[in-house]
């Protein structure tokens, strides 16, 4: 059986093109800029093909275009591995598919690519704005799908969009049910992740200048909500990593920092504690930020031997976790493992000789480690300057810093202090993370990249690891207030965030607006993106016990509920058999005939019945035939006055 030749309708073409634009445009900020040109050319070309001005590209030209696109990607990324190159490849395929929509299948491939490309945007960013952009993309691409399956009627180009929008709107309740109830699985295999270079955030090594660079960004690192009072600002040391390996310039993680303890390190859990939940922006790394002494409350989050929290996988999307901070807890108070002691006392050979020599001399003079620490901090306090733009350091960076330049940012102080302690025979390590945060009027804390900080931890007999922040000694106000207030006059701050609203925090209404927007974004992150955490809890509360049977039942019930409006709309007209005037008149006619001895049999057609009745009642034959004809006309014809005529005829039959 031959099917009519398929041709993409005009409105279908139009909406597939619009869908392409809406799906791809927001992605472009994550992809090489030349992809915008590729997309624009493809759209223009497609329009010209449609208008009959240009031809579709031939086979060789298409191959050349594909090769060109691939070469462009290789040039831009240096390879095809990774998320950005793969998404770019998809975009190129999508653009080229626009040019060869010959058959139904081609159009479908383009449309389905559109769905995929539109949604995959969420891998780069999950904010509300992105969510709205993805929604717009899905609606526009669906309009393309609707347009490809509809006739162009009455020249209304908006019809496919209307169909798609209605469909999406009706699908939203069911989507909500699926989102809330569908169980999530863990990752099934490793996937290429967004490039690390694109993310602002802390690295796993620290050299002079690294944290200074981070302070240029007003981007958000994470938000925290405490279940109770927010502890005083001076307590808010968000530990990220401990760095115990030093090469003379750069601090990096030691071997013990890599190993996680299955059961978590022994902790003294007494005194008060604070529970809090963190919504971490994507970092591309696996460590999490927590207050000492941490105890993770979320599934999957582990504790390492250096009392830092670790996620099983790199954080490639905003995630939430809960933790508890034991305020009076101690770390490794019972004694230091030999491996860790060796690691945290190691000195790079021949590096910073003057510092090492001085430290040894001071250690002999000091009655206790505490006294030695005080002496060093006092040195910092009296003679050092805290600045965003310190002088450059030479080969023996710590020597230069301590005895020559005497100005630096937190990483300089932490590095010098830690090296000094080690040389004096005290185990010490650098800790990087964030300090402080901005308290939002709604009761949570916003921690930004410019809150990045480095400090030191020393191990003291009987007390375990003790935090020492040399920056607090040189610039105590850094700990009391935020960096923004401290360096308000300096240009270096926010150099990377020219448009950040934080710049205008002095203007009242802009500050209000900024805080309001952040509250919405935070709620989104906490309740939508971080929903996994609450889901099990919620289900358990709802079902009492979570098992497959109850889950299936709940899903079914909720799904049906969500579909109820759609069901009502779709099934209404046929279910109720609404009778219009013609039906009612014809039924009166049937009753009348039945009373005359000719009853219409179930399922008997109008014509058959008319013929049978006419034979049985020849004296009424003309009327009967006229009534049947009239009824048929009212059903299949366009005449509006048929109904009135039918009523009159039926009435006259009765008389």
């Amino acid at each position: 059986m031959a099917t009519p030749p398929w041709q993409l309708s005009r409105h279908g073409t139009l909406w597939i093109l619009i869908g392409f634009a809406v799906a791809v445009a927001p992605l472009l900020r994550h992809l090489p800029p030349w992809l915008a040109a590729v997309g624009a050319i493809a759209m223009l070309w497609r329009i010209q093909i449609y208008r009959g001005r240009w031809g579709a590209p031939g086979r060789w030209l298409k191959l050349a275009l594909v090769a060109l696109g691939g070469a462009g990607l290789l040039l831009s990324f240096g390879g095809l591995a990774g998320l950005e190159p793969m998404v770019s490849l998809l975009v190129i395929a999508y653009a080229l598919k626009l040019l060869e929509m010959h058959g139904r299948r081609d159009a479908l491939v383009a449309i389905y690519l559109g769905f995929f490309v539109a949604v995959v945007q969420g891998l780069f960013d999950q904010g509300i704005t992105t969510a709205l952009q993805v929604l717009a993309g899905v609606v526009a691409v669906s309009a393309g799908l609707a347009g490809a399956n509809q006739r162009d009627l009455h020249g209304r180009p908006g019809r496919p969009l209307a169909s798609a929008a209605i469909l999406v709107a009706q699908a939203l309740p069911l989507m909500l049910v699926l989102f809330l109830l569908m169980p999530r699985l863990g990752p099934l295999w490793d996937v290429p992740t967004p490039g690390r270079s694109a993310i602002t955030g802390m690295g796993d090594t620290v050299a002079p200048g690294d944290i200074t660079r981070l302070s240029r960004s007003a981007g958000i690192a994470f938000r925290v909500r405490f279940e109770g009072e927010i502890p005083p600002r001076g307590q808010l040391y968000w530990r990220g990593l401990t760095l115990s390996q030093f090469d003379g310039r750069r601090w990096s993680r030691g071997p013990s920092g890599e190993t996680a303890r299955a059961s978590g390190p022994a902790q003294r859990r007494d005194g008060g504690f604070s529970d809090y939940s963190v919504t971490l922006e994507r970092t591309g790394t696996d460590w999490l930020y927590a207050l000492a002494v941490p105890e993770p409350l979320s599934r999957g989050v582990g504790v390492k031997s250096d009392y830092t929290l670790v996620n099983p996988a790199p954080v490639h999307a905003r995630m939430g976790y809960r933790a508890r901070a034991w305020h009076a807890g101690a770390m490794d108070a019972a004694g230091l493992a030999p491996g860790i002691r060796a690691e945290t006392m190691a000195l790079p050979a021949g590096s910073n000789p003057r510092t090492v020599a001085t430290a040894r001399a001071w250690a002999r003079e000091a009655p206790s480690p505490e006294a030695l620490i005080d002496r060093v901090l006092q040195l910092f306090n009296r003679q050092f300057v805290y600045t965003l733009e310190p002088a450059r350091l030479g080969r023996h960076g710590v020597d230069d810093f301590l005895w020559t330049t005497r100005e630096g940012f937190c990483e300089h102080f932490a590095s010098a202090f830690t090296l000094f302690m080690r040389a004096a025979g005290i185990p010490a390590r650098v800790v990087v993370g964030y300090q402080g945060g901005e308290a939002h009027p709604e009761g949570y804390l916003i921690v930004r990249h410019y809150d990045a900080h480095a400090w030191a931890e020393v191990w003291l007999d009987g007390r375990g690891w003790v935090r020492v922040d040399p920056t607090a000694a040189v610039a105590p106000e850094r700990i009391r207030m935020s960096l923004v207030d401290l360096f308000a006059a300096e240009d270096g701050l926010f150099a990377d965030s020219p448009l950040s609203l934080v710049r205008f925090r002095d203007v009242g209404w802009i500050n209000q607006l900024r805080l309001r927007m952040d509250a919405v974004e935070y709620a989104w992150g906490r309740w939508v993106l971080g929903y996994d955490d609450v889901q099990l809890d919620l289900l358990a509360r709802l079902l009492g016990r979570v098992d497959a049977g109850r889950m299936a039942l709940l899903l079914l019930a909720a799904g049906l509920l969500a579909l109820a409006p759609v069901l009502a709309i779709a099934l209404w007209p046929t279910r109720r058999h609404p009778r219009d005037g013609a039906d009612r008149a014809y039924l009166r006619f049937c009753t009348r005939m039945a009373s005359l001895g000719v009853a219409r049999r179930p399922g008997e057609g109008v014509r058959d019945f008319a013929e049978r009745a006419a034979r049985a009642r020849p004296e009424l034959a003309a009327s009967i035939r006229a009534i049947s004809l009239c009824y048929e006309k009212s059903r299949y014809g366009r005449g509006g006055d048929q109904v009135r005529q039918l009523r009159r005829r039926v009435a006259s039959l009765r008389g």
Binding site: F115, V138, H577, G605
Partner: protein, 323 residues
Amino acid sequence: MTPLAWLRSRYQRWFHGWLARRIPEEQEVVLNRRRIFILPSRAGFAFLGVVALLWLVATNYQNNLVFAFAALLASMFVVAIFHSYANLSGLRLRVEQVDPAFAGHRARVVIALGQQGRPRLRDELTLSFPGASPVVATLPGAAASTELFVPAPRRGWLRPGRLTVESHYPLGLFRVWTHVLPACKGIVYPRPIRGEPLALGDGGGEGEARLVAGGSEDFIGLDKYRPGESLNRVAWKHQAQGRGMLSKQFGESISRSLWLDWRAFPGLDREARLSRLCQWLLTVSAADEVYGLRLPGVETELARGPAHRDRLLALLALFEVAD
């Protein structure tokens, strides 16, 4: 017969029996739950593939936004079921008429479409009879009609069979279809074949049956074109002038009333004789002769005119045909 073919034939027999019970022949068909079938189309399965892929992406990246949109697409798939169903549900169908045709040609079937209940726009309805090329209809208002051309291979009654109504509206993700059996039959005249009738010395009746045999095809006049007639005969010049579709009629110059007689074609089988009688009938009626028909056991009156012609054609069509 291979086991597979055997199974298939068994299945088809069973399916047709089941279909006959479930959707019997009806004067007027109203599509409802009993009659409508719905399954995902190939495009629908591909769409599910996209959803599954997005779900995998969401799971592997632990990305709730992607998960939410995978759920949205899945929900759209479910909602599309109802939209697809609603496009067919409540549709009324009736075969308005089946035009007569000559065997070997196609017969025009006019189908009236109506709506039960609140009229809604019904888009992309594909209607087809077995062997007929499908027609795509839309029903923008309360009623519409559409035409299909069904092959008429044999003389006798033409039953177009099951009408398949199919739709992929609105997103093409589902195929919604039904095989209904609207009550209708059309008549199929014998295939006209030119023959040389024997002159029968037949002295009865008013007309002297003198036959002028053979002769070239003389143009006689124009008559309204009847579907099924050869397109070679259409008077395209008139058509182009907007004077309607007319067909040229040819015939031998016979000037008297005559009997079209079964016995004029001895030695031929039934169908061959009927075919020749049919052509003969067309020729004489085009020449506006007075004529009658003699078949074994049948003798008509002598008359002329289109009504007479059609009555005689029907006699030829249904000669020795069981209902």
